[in-house]
Amino acid sequence: MRKAKAKGQKRKANWIVNLVLGIICIVWFIPTLGLLISSVRPAADILQSGWWTVFPHRQWDTVSQLKLDRDTDLRKPITVNGKTFTDDQLKAGVEDGNQRLIWENRRARTLDVQEKKWGASTNFTLQNYETVLGGKQYKITQPDGTIKTEQGSGMGRSFWNTIAVVIPSTVIPIFIASFAAYAFAWLKFRGRNIFFIVIIALLVVPLQVALIPILRDYTTLGLNGTYFGIWMAHTAFGLPLITYFMYNSISQLPKDLFESAFMDGATNFTIFSRLILPLSVPALASISIFQFLWVWNDYLVSLIFLGSQPEVQVLSMSIANLVGSRGNDWHLLTSAAFISMLTPLAVFFALQKYFVRGLLGGSVKG
């Protein structure tokens, strides 16, 4: 059967491949698209209609109104234009030919006569973003028409907190791990094997295992809720993987390189900072992206070691709090979530090239 598949068949496969892959990509993209669209829709619209209604679609549009007799008995069948309907039918909307009848105002006995038309809900607003970013008060029109004043959550502060947490938590472990990886790869010392085995074993230790004792130590030392405390926590949790990754990269450098540098009287520190670091830039870049994304997106570690005091709260925490405290404020949730996605997405797309290259050099060969 497969023998029949000659060259002609391959082009056909390509067409199928493109189609299947295209469908997968659309499925993959839809959730994010939904968030993006929802985040620029007014609060009332988000709660009333799905985000996909911003695309042109067939929807019921009211073309005229019917006024029934004011004292129509709703418990009996109701006669409209010579046909009879029940109250329940009219509540849900009942189709009659190509028209639909639905109560406009049940008490006033007015009915909407609707027809299917092409339409799209195209109300867009940036107010959600303003509310989320600024700490000011905003008036929001609720679905039922009342106006509610609410306090913006001031994501600006948590954005800066996130920066203060993420950048050192990315650079410090990479620095420490690279030094260690260099020593493991090229220096001889007592205890090298045992240290290395322990680090590799720690690679897969679930971080939950460490949380209780660290929390106790931090409470004793007063490190809870401080930047320094969370830097150290992220550093320790990231170290095994980064050390292993950098070891793979550094140990593959040619040996002659070191020998000639030693001949010239270079110290280990000089070799490391002048030779190893520049040569490992692709590996450093890709592991940095990993650590950056992981720390930026982390929720558990910040939840436990930083807590939710506004002075130190990070983005993921403030969104999670929004989910909890204002579960129905979709307009705030969506825009906050989108803001928190922007930085990692920008970093990822800017450094994508390094990412793949570094992975190629590191984990595939290793």
Partner: protein, 366 residues
């Protein structure tokens, strides 16, 4: 201790009092300086942005200056000692941090797991017996198993499929970027995104995509995350698959590109179909990569926390070990149960640890 043979004449061969003094002073100075800076930050009321920038500068400059100053001290040592001590300066910070924040805590957690809720009384294996009989905790273990099996399988299979398809499609870069993108999104933001997919409300008007689809097809809307237990876990697992498949895909894609083209060409010449080539040639060649990715995702799914916490808070029968751990520890203040759950996670990854170390031994790193 035979120093005289190997010495060159550049530096002194004995410890002078000055060097000894320096070796004590420099670490102390480092400690003092950073404690002062730490105290400054803890008490500061600077605007968030300034605070963040200063903290970042402290983190980066601090880590560099520690290594630089320690290295400088060791450079003053007699040559023989220099070579002996330098490796420990390089690996020291990594080993100390991992020891303090990961290795010792693991042992301490193991110790705590034999004690009662407030760690005052030894209870032997009672906590373990409780964990494996308590209904909630057993559900958590079952759910974790579902996560590991279905989550990992789906990620690996989809990742392979997309990597192979992308390799032959005409929009490879775009497809890979789309599938990889969710990796850059936090679980918290992903939670918000997926609420728009799973959102449930009674009636015909739905704002959740999945319910809108099935209502359109004439079915009743479903509470995807609350009803239909235990299958609601699968809907949570879909979120993980959506986020992690990109990781598997990127690495598989790199591995597939590493397969020599003539090998595939030869198989095609012999009349092998594409499907057969995939199973008989590609899969065996990249098997070690598949194994590495599979173990990474298994470990990841074992620790799964954020998705469940954000989407359901572990209600409706969706609790996993990590969320139960969090609940035991912070809501019920039961350090005994909490530690035991963490240790259960650890036991579950021990096979992976052994596999890792064995792989290293094979590779000659030990």
């Amino acid at each position: 201790m035979d120093v005289s043979k190997t010495m060159d004449t550049r530096s002194n061969q004995r410890f002078t009092p000055k060097v000894i003094l320096l070796s004590i002073l420099v670490p102390l100075l480092n400690l003092g300086l950073h404690t002062l800076i730490f105290l400054f930050f803890r008490g500061s009321d600077l605007p968030p942005m300034v605070n963040a920038l200063l903290a970042v500068i402290w983190g980066l400059a601090g880590i560099y200056s520690i290594y630089f100053s320690l290295n400088w001290v060791v450079e003053q040592y007699p040559d023989k000692w220099k070579d002996r001590v330098i490796p420990y300066v390089f690996v020291g910070p990594a080993v100390l941090l991992l020891g303090w924040l990961l290795f010792l805590p693991t042992l301490r957690t193991l110790y705590l797991s034999f004690f009662n809720a407030d760690s005052t009384q030894f209870v032997g294996f009672a906590n373990f017996a409780a964990v494996f009989t308590d209904r909630l905790l057993v559900t958590a273990l079952r759910n974790n198993l579902m996560w590991v099996v279905f989550g990992t399988l789906a990620c690996v299979i989809l990742g392979l499929l997309i990597a192979v398809l992308a390799d032959r499609s005409s929009f490879e870069r775009l497809a890979k970027a789309v599938v990889f993108m969710p990796m850059a999104i936090s679980f918290v933001a992903a939670g918000v995104i997926w609420k728009f997919i799973y959102y449930y409300q009674p009636g015909a008007d739905q704002i959740g995509l999945l319910n809108a689809i099935i209502v359109n097809m004439g079915f009743q809307p479903q509470g995807w995350l609350s009803m239909v237990q235990p299958w609601n876990n699968l809907f949570l697992i879909v979120i993980l698959v959506w986020m992690q498949t990109g990781f598997a895909m990127v690495i598989f894609s790199a591995a597939i590109k590493g397969i020599p083209e003539d090998m595939l060409e030869a198989a095609r010449m012999d009349g092998a179909g594409e499907i057969r080539i995939f199973f008989k040639i590609m899969l065996p060649v990249i098997s070690s990569t598949v194994l590495a990715v599979t173990t990474t995702i298994i470990v990841f799914t074992l620790k799964i926390f954020d998705v469940v916490m954000i989407m359901t808070g572990g209600q409706y029968g969706t609790e996993v070990v990590a969320t139960e751990f969090y609940r035991q520890l912070f809501m019920y203040q039961n350090a005994g149960y909490g530690s035991t759950l963490a240790i259960v996670l650890l036991i579950a990854v021990i096979p992976v640890i052994i596999l890792n170390v064995r792989q290293l031994k094979k590779g000659g790193s030990l």
